[in-house]
Symmetry: C2
Subunit: 570 residues, 2 copies
């Protein structure tokens, strides 16, 4: 009895005492049971599944922020030890916002969580899905002692490495263009713009040469290109011309877009508002032009309508179009049998197709949405409970919820057809409701649905939602193993462990300069003008990853209002 | 009469009308008189003396700020288009203050003035004193169209190019050390420090290797080296160890000083206060050590007392000692017959010795103070008005003011001897006042004076005062030509055009970290501790070159108090 009560007291003390006194307590006891304890403790630690996260962009950080790291042994690999708020990169190019105001160290973000996350500043150079390891290489090229590759084992691998720039094979782009994907790019552009002005005012240049130096070309009329053009125009008009008055009339900004309109992923009212704004601002928008080559002096483009190729001299080019696959992802695609695809494909649960326990999200992957027509027979069979060979409205109604979750394109189709009820799909050609359909009728009813499938855009919004979604799945991994919460598998009647990822579009902004912005808001609202710019300010301030960056970004904006932008070349 | 009144009206209109209407007016008239007008106007413009300023550091900017640019045709050449508040560079290395908060574009500074100042972002590669031209090369190495050298003519040349780092020929320093002279240096150090921590936490390193990576070595115990050591210690203790907890006990900071004490230009109370503070902080101060070689792994030093050479591995070295002459200045020295000197010499009016109309100030030159003993005979002769061969107290009193201005070492000598009155110099060996001295007695009386001559330190304070002084000389060039305000030339009794430059020491600060600073204040006051740090904050805020940088620096300090320093590697 006394022995038992001693052990009980010891065990209670053990649980409540801090680590150092535990050691002391252990030393006062003896024998095999303690060795067993420490072993089982280690084993328990080892039982924690190893999660390796590649990349610390929107998807990776959003995943890490929401993940319950106490349940996993988490390691993060990224060549950058910070997260950058990329939507503000165009502002950084002109000094409206400082580079340091939009970055937050990864360790600061993950240290706020309970449990440990280890971070390695390294590039992942090889993913080995067979051995479940990733090979990493530190990014300090100059130091041989730390230049050794190391490998990390994983139980789950989360790939969120983002995309690289895509030149579409255009010659000379890599050598002669600036890009706008990283913080360093933005800093380089800032120095480049100032350089152009310093060059243009040098003595001994002809007027023609001065004009060339101050010809800024932006390739790509998407949100980034348009925002950069607007920022550059504001910077030059509000700040630069005051201090380089002799060359202010030599400046020209050209925006080259291969499509017929700039901002063509936006509502066309926004697109034409932007075009008119740029026309008033004197920004030359060249639509229907494809860049065919770039040299250190000229940029050549082909006018699509006439086939004519023309060449103009430039001072600085920013290439902001195209999303390309990184070599590490390309290598993985070969391994998992996706070698012929352009982009890494995942299923609706963000799992990389063709391998186990590997997830991919953000710009480095696309979700390969399952077509409803591929499963149409199974759906029919599963729905036709009485095996009558026909589907009644009631039978269809029973599976509708699962269909809507598993095949979100059905919902989009209904919306596009302005149908209120899913069962209206079963109506005949004249629109009269039918009580029953056979398999052929069912196929016909759903035949247009898959055309509604669209791959998600490569935006921060999508990546952040994917990261948060995946973290929720990881957090409820065990729980959902026992109680699956996903839709029915029509083939065998069982359920998917999780609901598939579904993107919610909260709208998008396009700042157009001069304190004006255009926005597409939820519910198909469109808004443009000064009030929208203020909405933009408040949304972007609120979306910051930390209070530090929030304060810094707002104070940068304030500073710009009071003192303008700095034109020191640092 | 009508013709005369027409001409009068036209002439009035001409004076009040803007440039474009002047042209119109010119076109409505005709004949030789107008050509003569435009010629004479051009001539008047040409009559403006051409001033070329090399460099935009403390001396150059201070000169430009005070110069009346409407009287001169001013051109500025500098490889940097900004002025940097260099005393805050150590703060930039650790992110206490952001780089952009301490820089101000040169054009912003000079644009505030009436009259035009032209600025060229270029390196001066050759000064040709014979032809009064400087050859400049733009700093954009990658662009052949603007890579052409251009030359500028000058009537007056102001050299304020600063100094370069001096390695004292120590092998490996240039390749393996960081310096702390430019803004870019500070930014590189900041990235370097973060890199060391990222390297040290990588997997697969031995404890020894981790310790090596986190061994920060500072060479030079002057104000810059000490301040950097203090900043680094604060950065690591307050911010870095929180986010790299696993290696916080591996960090070591070593400060190597060749002298016996750090801060040896300061009062010795400050020097010992600093040493004690560093001892408490765990900063290893190695005095009496001279660095003899640096490799990418080790730094070798010789302990002066024992002659022993030891070698320690390092993670990062900052070399903050020595002032070297730039090649362009070295080349000028050869031209003007100063080839054997170490540093470019100017006279007390900042005029480069050995050539005409060339001025030099700041770290690139030293003032070669005229010894009183060289002129002693002429002084005696000029003072001995009655040519009696002896100097009475009254006769001496008459020339004392001129002597004190021309030979400031006399004042220093009086101060060092605690003499109240200059004529006390004439006292005999026993200290008894004498009524008369002969030439030998006069020589004897002044024999100790020249030992008080000291060259000025290479500080921002000296450079700024020199710039302001020279601008005042330039502004009153004409006025002082007619009415010289300088002291008497003893040889011929005429007067120097200007008073010679005289440095006023307003004290100096040494921030020691942990919100403590030491200061030498005017009147031989010494202060150290927290209140001094607050004094430092207020002085440095008030000394900022513009309201923009003032607000930014103060908001950076505030940000640091609230959020700490950022450790993103950008």
């Amino acid at each position: 009895m006394t022995i038992l009560s001693f052990l009980g007291a010891a065990s209670r003390a053990f649980r409540t005492a801090p680590a150092s006194s535990k050691l002391l307590l252990l030393c006062t006891l003896s024998g095999g049971s303690l060795v067993a304890y420490s072993d089982s403790n280690k084993e328990k630690e080892n039982q924690k599944k190893k999660v390796v996260v590649l990349g610390t962009g929107w998807a990776g950080i959003s995943f890490l922020k929401d993940l319950d790291v106490s349940c996993y042994d988490v390691q993060v690999v990224s060549p950058q030890n910070y997260f950058a708020f990329t939507p503000l990169l165009p502002s950084v190019t002109c000094g409206t916002v400082e580079a340091r105001s939009i970055v937050e160290p990864v360790r600061n973000i993950v240290n706020k969580k309970k449990g440990e996350v280890r971070f390695w500043e390294a590039d992942c150079v090889k993913i080995d899905t067979a051995n479940r390891t990733v090979l990493c290489k530190p990014v300090f090229g100059d130091d041989p002692t730390v230049d050794k590759e190391f490998s990390l084992e994983y139980d789950y691998l989360v790939i969120a490495v983002g995309a690289q720039v895509n030149t579409f094979g255009t010659p000379g782009v890599l050598e002669n263009c600036h890009f706008l994907k990283e913080v360093e790019d933005a800093q380089r552009i800032r120095r480049g713009v100032i350089d152009c002005f310093e060059k243009a005012v040098l003595p001994g240049l002809s007027e023609e040469q001065r004009r060339t130096k101050l010809h800024f070309v932006i390739v790509g009329g998407g949100p980034t290109g348009v925002e950069f053009a607007a920022e550059l125009h504001d910077f030059i008009r509000e700040d630069i011309t005051k201090i380089y008055p002799t060359v202010k009339d030599h400046v020209k900004i050209t925006l080259i877009q291969s499509g017929d309109h700039i901002l063509n992923t936006f509502d066309e009212r926004i697109s034409s508002f932007a075009e008119q704004k740029f026309l008033r601002d004197g920004i030359d928008v060249q639509t229907g032009c494809r860049v065919v080559g770039v040299s250190d002096k000229d940029i050549s483009m082909k006018i699509k309508s006439t086939g004519e190729v023309c060449s103009v001299p430039h001072g600085l080019i920013v290439w902001s179009t195209g999303v390309g696959t990184r070599p590490i992802v390309r290598d993985l695609m070969e391994q998992v049998g996706q070698g012929k695809r352009r982009v890494l494909a995942t299923d609706e649960w963000l799992r990389v197709k063709g391998c186990q326990n590997v997830y991919a999200m953000g710009d480095c992957a696309t979700i390969d949405q399952r077509k409803i027509m591929e499963d149409i027979a199974a759906i029919f069979e599963a729905a036709d409970k009485d095996k009558s060979g026909t589907l009644t409205r009631e039978e269809f109604q029973d599976v509708v919820d699962d269909i809507l979750v598993r095949y979100p394109q059905v919902g989009l189709f209904l919306k596009s057809k302005h149908l209120m009820n899913v069962t209206d799909l079963l109506a005949d050609a004249e629109g009269n409701a039918r009580e029953e359909v056979d398999i052929e009728g069912f196929k016909l009813a759903l035949s247009g649905v898959d055309s509604q499938m669209k791959s998600l855009p490569a935006t921060a919004q999508v990546a952040a939602q994917q990261g948060a979604y995946l973290a929720q799945c990881f957090n409820r991994m065990k729980q959902c193993e026992e109680q699956p919460e996903g839709p029915m598998r029509f083939k065998d009647g069982s359920h998917h462990q999780f609901r598939p990822f579904q993107y919610k579009h909260f709208g998008q902004f396009a700042p157009l300069g001069g304190e004006q912005a255009a926005a597409e808001l939820p519910g198909d609202w469109v808004s443009a003008g000064r009030s929208t710019q203020w909405l933009w300010y408040s949304v972007y301030a609120s979306k910051q990853v930390s209070w530090r960056t929030r304060v810094l970004v707002v104070s940068d904006w304030t500073r710009r209002f009071i003192f303008g932008r700095d034109s020191s070349r640092i």
